[in-house]
Symmetry: C2
Subunit: 334 residues, 2 copies
DNA sequence: CTGAAAGCGCTTACAG
DNA sequence: CTGAAAGCGCTTACAG
């Protein structure tokens, strides 16, 4: 396991390091190196257990073959699945992934970009936090490949992949209204990001168009609130609004907090209160009763995003694909 | 955002790159560089937005300041929490972490070690798969810092951190037996790893000592079984053994599969069947009824492991700490 | 057919 | 007080 270098092999055989490099990089033919020498070098490399030093390769070639993936929170089910999907996808292209979480902190987000940039990543896949616009713009200007995921900045010309949040929530609301729920509350997070806005707007429109309600119940929790405090806040709301017959949670972690509240308050789902959530989670499937949700096509999002990134890495123009389509998964909670 | 190098700063000011390097690395005093020059260099570096190229630094210093963390499955709650805890801990020491999952495949495990070694990681934190013994031994022989987590190989002298599996299961069993459960089944996975063996042995001993049963019900699922197939297998078992009044799941993913089975079979917890699980999970807390579990002290495991690794990185001998203590969390399922 | 040389961006012993 | 030079391990244009 002692580190073996090209030079070691070369000196062992009595040949120049460059020759070894050519052979081991499959350029023996191209460089018209004799079959005998090629074989000898190959077997010696194997015998010594040679593995190229990626750091040196990266420095020399200017390519690290590493992609920085910045998500909101890698411990969140949605982002974890997305991350794995992206990792698998990028493996195909022979790129590795470094994962990082912003936890929606602007400061942490920019620090991560700095850090990844020092590590010389070849490109970025980012679910940006509010306030990250300038950093993204700088990356774009510096011609660094970057793709935004799950949200984007309309003012910045960065390629992005975002599912059809508006259409999805509209479909979810249609389902709730069809089932006869009237006092529907929307629990969301105070986050200045486009996907959250689209979800909220869709909720507002549905309530207005279908019910004529122009100021529906919307609870906005501060972002970066702890899970515990979310539970308190949602509990307070439900206590104060006993007429609520359905809640629509705008993210899966809000939904999970909400289920805890409903459990504590001893409310029966769906008889006393119906529940619907944006994004799926194991917990929703296993919950009694199981929770209806809007499931984003994670694999498709991952493929689109990596595809866009690869286009940039190979200097092809990138064409924003159609928004991936979210599915309404009807379970027993509605 | 154009990449700025030491040389750029040096030539801008008309000074040697080495001088800039000294200043930026806080060695100005040591090298007796004038305050005036120092200030000038500092401000110019800032103005140009200089960030050192980590790849070059790594190549030159022989230190990547990256630790490879190989876990069984990063999407599993237990390992995800552990990974985050470790990441936070290592940040303090100014080390970054690269995460990888083996999915208990020996092949994948060794490939990951190879890959990380090419990336020149400075050390390893590994939850090894069966069959990885030789690879670990090689690392140790090559004097590469490595710490095993969650399990270890008795035959290999690698430092490790493993919680008190035997004591934990013994405590869990005591609780079940006290509650009066008799026909307790143990659902585990067919995996030749010490922590799983300890859990099983503790179960056997408890059943024998307390109940005089020398061949208790133990279901061993093949490792790498899909979640779906686990559900089928556990369902079959429960159907075939209606006398079972309690199940002890040896890992949290088995517990989650088990809950699905119990739900499908419409068995009431804990009246018809009690449930206890090794490792906690959000799902267990939120489940109705909530599930009793044995919770490993993740933070402590992370601290111990990083501590051991840091000792090795600074060439101190490493002293295996006491096994972290698992807590019995009693909920409504028992 | 093969080798010597330059250079990626840095750090550090050495020399003045 | 400051600079020139070597070298980390590789790749690749160049020369023969």
């Amino acid at each position: 396991m002692k580190k073996v270098s090209l030079k070691d092999i070369a000196s062992k055989i009595g040949v120049a390091p460059s020759t070894v490099s050519f052979v081991l990089n499959g350029k023996a033919k191209e460089m018209r190196i004799s079959d005998a020498l090629t074989k000898k070098i190959r077997s010696e490399a194997k015998r010594l257990g040679y593995m190229p030093n990626q750091i040196a390769v990266s420095l020399r070639t200017g390519q690290s073959r590493i992609i920085g993936l910045i998500v909101e929170d890698i411990s969140n089910n949605f982002f974890a699945s997305l991350a794995r999907s992206i990792e698998k996808e990028l493996e195909v292209y022979n790129y590795r992934v470094v994962f990082c979480s912003t936890e929606n902190s602007e400061l942490k987000g920019r620090e991560l970009i700095r850090m990844l940039s020092q590590q010389q990543v070849d490109g970025y896949l980012i679910t940006p936090t509010p306030g990250m616009e300038d950093d993204i713009r700088q990356l774009i200007e510096a011609q660094v490949p970057v793709v935004l995921i799950d949200r984007y900045f309309p003012a910045v010309g960065a390629p992005y992949v975002m599912s059809d949040n508006f259409r999805a929530v509209t479909e979810g609301m249609k389902h709730l209204l069809q089932k006869g729920y009237k006092n529907i509350a929307f629990i969301t997070v105070e986050l200045d990001l486009i996907q959250m806005k689209e979800r909220e707007t869709a909720f507002r429109e549905a309530m207005y168009k279908e019910q004529g309600i122009s100021a529906p119940q919307i609870v906005k929790l501060p972002f970066q609130i702890s899970a515990q405090d979310s539970v308190l806040a949602i509990t307070d709301f439900l206590k104060a609004h006993p007429e609520t017959d359905a809640v629509f949670f705008a993210t899966n972690y809000l939904g999970i907090a909400g289920l805890e509240c409903i459990k504590n308050l001893n409310l029966k789902i769906p008889d006393q209160i119906a529940v619907m959530c944006f994004d799926d989670h194991d917990i929703f499937r296993l919950h009694t009763p199981a929770i209806t949700c809007l499931r984003q096509p994670i694999h498709e999002i991952a493929c689109n995003a990596t595809g866009l990134l690869m286009q940039q890495l190979s200097n092809l123009g990138s064409t924003i694909p159609e928004p991936p389509v979210t599915t309404l998964v009807i379970r027993q909670s509605t």
